[in-house]
Symmetry: C2
Subunit: 454 residues, 2 copies
């Protein structure tokens, strides 16, 4: 093979430098999840296609990666079927498995399959890659990680509050300034109901969403074009005119939706959540956003989205409550609520703002120069001592030119180099070079430990 | 869907309990790798089939999971090809990608593809799942994790020594008693050369391997059956008769192989490694084992295998030196050495011997009982305080019966439950129940922190 090897389009290799940064993000998210009592699970990369098909809409089905059956996958197949050469029909005969498309459907499958072993309410988190045969483009990949955190088996709004706390804590620790937008599917349903267009929820939210950009007149024109009645558009005007802070808007909305029990229930829920959150003194502002609808149809209560304030990028976290997620696998009446952190977008935000603490991007703290066999053996023991004190260190493996060894340390971003030659061995000391300042000092092992211990 | 959902055969769900244990193993291994200056990388789950095919032998090619091309995968395909209905030929036309089979070939691909960005010697580790369409059986899965650690771009035997140090430290931390077996491919080549059967290396090691089980006479019979000449078998007798400790065996072997430069080079290498290791006072014994050959043909120097001493199970770690791994992707002359920790077998060993420290299997340390809205809001704030002190805690989300809440804590293995009712709120105290002993004490928040802080 003469040409340079490559990887499938839409996939990525992660270099050590990228991995250190990504692990910092994952470790932070994981630690917060754990502090709130969420437990990790993992599901297989491959699921039966039965499990996946029909859960993400027609478009989603097309984006599933299918895994060819092993062995003689054509054996027993009807000859006529092959001659018809219909990709869609054939794929269902030669593939039984697919790569998971998200973590939500496998989680629902997990809950149903293991329901007898689970202590409900089940608080779980899951950090794994997912695969989608999307057209690759900037910031969109065919393999990417999701970090999901969900509670199933509890209707309590305390769960919604807790998820907002988790968002607050994750982004506080990562040092990203964010805004939580919150809405409730029941409010959206109430609005549609109140203006007499119960099945036009999506059209309505899309139009409201454009208010800031295109102005009231154009929004009304668009609603007309989308086929809403003149009466409905007229009824919608008070909602488009809502002003003030969260509580003002909610108070006005309560009047407007007074004849919709669903709408009022939504207002009650969102008010309760906001009141509880207000008592917690979070850093993150929480804002009612009536335009928030989110694509997935299974949400039934709260809807969340998190926006980064200092970078122009789509939402970096989102989720909501779904009252019947496990119903698709035969377990009815189990309510859940959850959010998903978009690791790749968070990675982009962190990189753009360069928010990593110095300790997160250093791997080796100290390198011993290799001056030959005798010195190397001596340094191996010193290195063991340092490691047992928690210091990340290495000995350059070859007795190469000093310049080459230093260039390696420099390129790897190693902050300290230990020079231990005959003289240092005799005195039991270490010449320690600070690679940034160039400063060199002679110190004891204990002093090195004290200096480098994090 | 009425029937209970399931997952593909040979794959697994990991429950929270299993995940905590597995993460303990992965975290330990990762931490040791980092202490020795190894850097993480990740490669995509899917590689181009070009990259994978032909690297694992004919059998390996069959065990690759192939991913069906997206969209209309039959378009442009020759009609005659479909009519022939040859699975093998067709699969190469409708699948361009496959799931990775191990981490070594993707690593070699990575090194070649990114050679200009890498600081050599490149010390990398990689912990990711791999997939093989093996027949599922006890302890063998179709998706499993590998934990690989390698150095490429250095010939120094210090790397071999360091890998043995890493083995020692990983298993010392995990508290598993192990034995490192070591051999050198050059010694095996030297033996085959010396007895005049240079191309029968594998037959010879298989026969030697059976010495303890079937005795000398039967080994000689088997060698004859395998087609070795009488002369060769005669020449092999001194090697089968080797006795004593490592250095005795090596000294005798040096005499026997005195006319084979390759064999002598192997002895020199293994002696150097053992001498250096001897100076490091490791806990793990390192034993010369001439029967060690390992399946993979690319090893050219040291060969390692690690045996658990207290459980009957195959090798739990293995590896060796390969002088030309990246050659398959066009980069010649880059030597590497590495080992792979078998996470699933280590998991089995840890489970059988129950070697997990208590802290590794606890998720939530403390649960607040939920007595209703007012108490819950109060506890939310207490929980925030505890979390900011590093305590993993949760509030039961529903105002359910106390018995139900306690059963949940019990089932989740939460060691402490905080009961905060009206009285406790007034006094600013917490009634803390030890779930194991049943003991209940009234304490301050500070006392809870002091008690639970790890």
């Amino acid at each position: 093979m003469a040409q340079k090897p490559s990887i499938p389009k839409g996939t990525r290799d992660f270099s050590p430098d990228e991995m250190l940064r990504r692990n910092y993000i994952f470790d932070t998210i994981r630690s917060v999840f754990q502090h709130y009592g969420y437990m990790p699970i993992e599901t297989p990369s491959m699921e039966n296609l039965d499990t996946l098909l029909g859960k993400y809409g027609e478009e989603g089905d097309k984006l599933l990666f299918r895994v060819l059956n092993s062995g003689d996958f054509l054996s027993g197949l009807d000859k006529g079927l092959l001659e018809k050469a219909d990709s869609q029909v054939l794929s269902s005969k030669i593939c039984e498995k697919g790569l998971r498309y998200d973590l939500t459907v496998p989680f629902a499958r997990f809950v149903v399959q293991h329901q007898s072993e689970i202590a409900f309410p089940f608080k779980r988190y899951q950090i794994q890659p997912v695969w989608r045969a999307d057209r690759p483009q900037k910031g969109r990949y065919r393999e990417f990680y999701q970090c999901d955190v969900d509670v199933v088996g509890s209707d309590s709004l305390l769960n919604e509050v807790e998820l907002i706390q988790i968002v607050d804590e994750v982004y506080r620790r990562l040092n990203i300034r964010v805004l939580v937008k919150i809405n409730n599917r029941k409010i959206l349903a109430g609005i549609a109901e109140t203006i007499g267009e119960a099945d036009r929820m999506v059209d309505i939210t899309v139009a409201i969403d454009k208010l800031d950009k295109i102005g009231l007149e154009n929004v009304n024109k668009e609603l007309e074009e989308r086929g809403l009645s003149v009466k409905a558009i007229e009824n919608l005007q008070p909602i488009l005119a809502l002003k003030g802070d969260n509580s003002q808007k909610l108070a006005d909305l309560k009047q407007i939706l007074k004849d919709s029990p669903t709408g009022l229930k939504g207002i009650e829920e969102i008010t309760a959540v906001m009141d509880m959150v207000a008592g917690l003194e979070l850093k993150t502002p929480v804002e009612l956003d009536l335009t928030l609808a989110r694509g997935l149809n299974y949400y039934t209560g709260a809807i969340f989205e998190v926006k980064a304030l200092d970078v122009v990028i789509g939402s970096i976290t989102g989720g909501g409550r779904y009252d019947d997620l496990t119903g698709i696998f035969g377990l009815k009446g189990v309510s859940g609520v959850g959010i998903s952190f978009g690791a790749d977008r968070i990675f982009d935000v962190m990189n753009q703002l360069n928010l990593y603490p110095e300790t997160a991007t250093v791997s080796t703290q100290l390198m011993f120069v290799n001056f030959g066999e005798m010195e190397a053996l001596y340094c191996l023991k010193l290195a063991s001592t340092l490691r047992s004190n928690g210091i990340l260190c290495e000995l350059y493996p070859d007795n190469a030119k000093l310049k080459k060894q230093m260039a390696y340390a420099d390129r790897k971003g190693i902050p300290f180099v230990a020079v231990v030659g005959e003289e240092e061995m005799q005195k039991g000391l270490i010449s320690l070079k600070n690679m940034q300042s160039g400063e060199q000092t002679t110190v004891t092992v204990e002093q090195v430990v004290a200096k480098l211990k994090v």
